[in-house]
Amino acid sequence: MDRRKYLKTLAAGSVGAGLLLQCKPDQKEQAPAVAKDLNYDRTPEELAREKALMSAKFFDDHEMKTIAALSDIIIPKDDVSGSATDAGVPDFIEFIVKDKPGYQTPLRGGIKWLDLQCMRRFDADFVSCNHEQQIEIIDEIAYPEKAKPEMLAGVAFFNTMRDLTACGFFTSKIGLADLGYMGNRPNQWNGVPQDVLDQYGLQYDARTLEISVKFDS
């Protein structure tokens, strides 16, 4: 697609961005999220709301592709764990912007801002840019204290993307394992492990040891 046509689709809003994808017949329309069975206490009002949120769709396919690309740049696969998309971060972001509509305009507008920057510089939208081009522009918005004033809109957008990507990743199953969170299971709290106390030069005083709960096992 040429740049003039792309700018026209930008002007046409999200419907236009959807049309943009139709240029590529191999791209399948993403199925709307299906309301899964929630396994925790829900009031009837909450259930009705969750179903409505899960059957709605906010981001179009182009936007979802952009979110996926950005989230994997923010949290890539490394030798500890998989990437943001491995952890389902784009689906989380799609849900949370429906749940918290205050995110909708900053993210939708931020993607458009990013695409326009890329079009002007590389004659391609962000996801169509090659990796080096993507990183060139990301480097200009990923470091708030070094960014040029004309890039501040992009900085704000990238801060939001960084927040939501990290949150979505580290609250996922693979993210929690990566972080090493070891709780949320029945156990007996018997104080800070001795090697950790030693590491910080700390100890429990005699009275604390005497009065605190002890366990048989």
Binding site: D78, T171, M182, W189, V213
Partner: protein
Amino acid sequence: MPDFQIKKNSKTYDVCIVGSGAGGGMAAYTLANAGIKVVLLEAGPMYDPKKNITQLKWPYDSPRRGASTDLRQFGDFDAAYGGWSIDGEPYTHKDGTEFDWFRSRMLGGRTNHWGRISLRFGEKDFKHKSIDGLGDDWPIGYEDVKPYYDKVDRLVGVFGSIENMPNEPDGIFLPPPKPRLMDLFFKQAGARLGIPVIPSRLSILTKPLENNKNRGSCFFCAQCNRGCSVYADFSSSSVLVNPALATGNVDVIPDAMAREVMTNDQGLATGVSYVNKDDMQEYVVNAKIVVLAASACESARILLNSRSTRHSNGLANSSNIVGKYLHDSTGASMGGIMPKLLGRKRYNEDGVGGMHVYTPWWLDNKKLDFPRGYHIEFGGGMGMPGFGYGFGMQNSNGKYPGRDGKMKAAGGYGASLKDDYRYFYGATFGMSGRGEAIAREDNYCEIDPTTVDKFGIPVLRFHYKWSDYEIKQAKHMKETFAEMIDKMGGVVTSGKDGPENNYGLLAPGRIIHEVGTTRMGNDPKKSAFNKFNQAHDCKNLFVVDGGPFVSQADKNPTWTILALSMRASEYMIDQIKKQNLS
């Protein structure tokens, strides 16, 4: 027959209780166990932490990763339905003042989310006017309530430590959990500054409760706010209402929104009218005694809406005092980071559902520029990540050397950023002050004559302003927090407030300790209820929530609500036997 009619229940109960939280639950429990026939009206649905489970769920079980919503404002996994706003149930404000009113319409009410902080009021807390000339003394003293605190400790269970501190009475305690890592730094800072940091006092069973087979003991998941499926913490549903139901002497009517207390020509209470939320029809239930426990503000609302020829100013309100002297705890917080804990070793640090240590009030107000004290709540460490985890990394990762000892640019992306989240995990903490405000006549709730809720019930209008006393107290909190953070080797990351926003003093209502709207006293001109929570104007009417509190103390009110509700209920039992209430 008209479309609109009022349905009357033909049965007459001994007692109708409105509200099933701490006060109502305890009244139902005490009365039912004495063989008294009780009907318990609850404005929300039935709830049982054994069946309505959010405990031990993972953040990814929630599509919003545990974020709060309008329907569950303390988070998607929190046990409490509702919050600061409820659709169709507005409240209003007067003269541009602020008051945020948290309501949880469900069995157990706000005992479903609270921090389980279970502190006794001390001797001074009942007689503060005699000490500093402000507010009023209670008509009762610690010695009157102590036997009931003791009974509540045994019945409900609370952990803590014997400290023999003035005005911080010790209880009958289960053993406390050991401090977490961050707590040891709080203790260290406290020791350097002469600030006591002692085991917290929470109603969580660290050991099985004697003579109680219905409740399990704590398995340390840190999730009391989600409700405990083995009943190892206190919530009114599991500890009071369920056992009360088991006596066979209690009928619960859920989804019953109380409108007003009905009275007869003699001015005595005869029952309660309510709206059934399922069919939106009007009902009346008859009872020989009416006990309000709908929360300090909701009970005041019911009384003020209960107008009759004998009670033209609202029921129990010949003093014109109902709704006045509303006061909530003060609250201000500060957050920080411990650079020495960056990259800390992992282990399961959950512990109990709340703080393991706290600071009771330790100073002499005669040497300070504000009256009344505050306690400090501490928290921090390797908690379960949820919505909001990792936000704002660009504000942290440029400020501290990384694992390699080198500084780097704030923000970023990629493998290096991914490792920052691991590196910073568990190194942050917070401290919050909760202090006593002075009860003042011009802080009040009243009926807004122009506004009704979706049930057609006139709503409350609030008028509340903090005074210099509370603002100076918040300033002192902030100074203390900053000193402690400095002494423990931490860095302040949030909550550096100044005079421009009253030192971060939260809006009244935010601490959800509101009390005082139906205060007790010996003088019927200056109080609405007597020292047994009984209306001066109507002998078969009682209020057993936080409304009868004369002053709030720097203590969370729940334990005192429980003790006073039990005391009032025993008084009722005695008076019923003597036939003094009909």
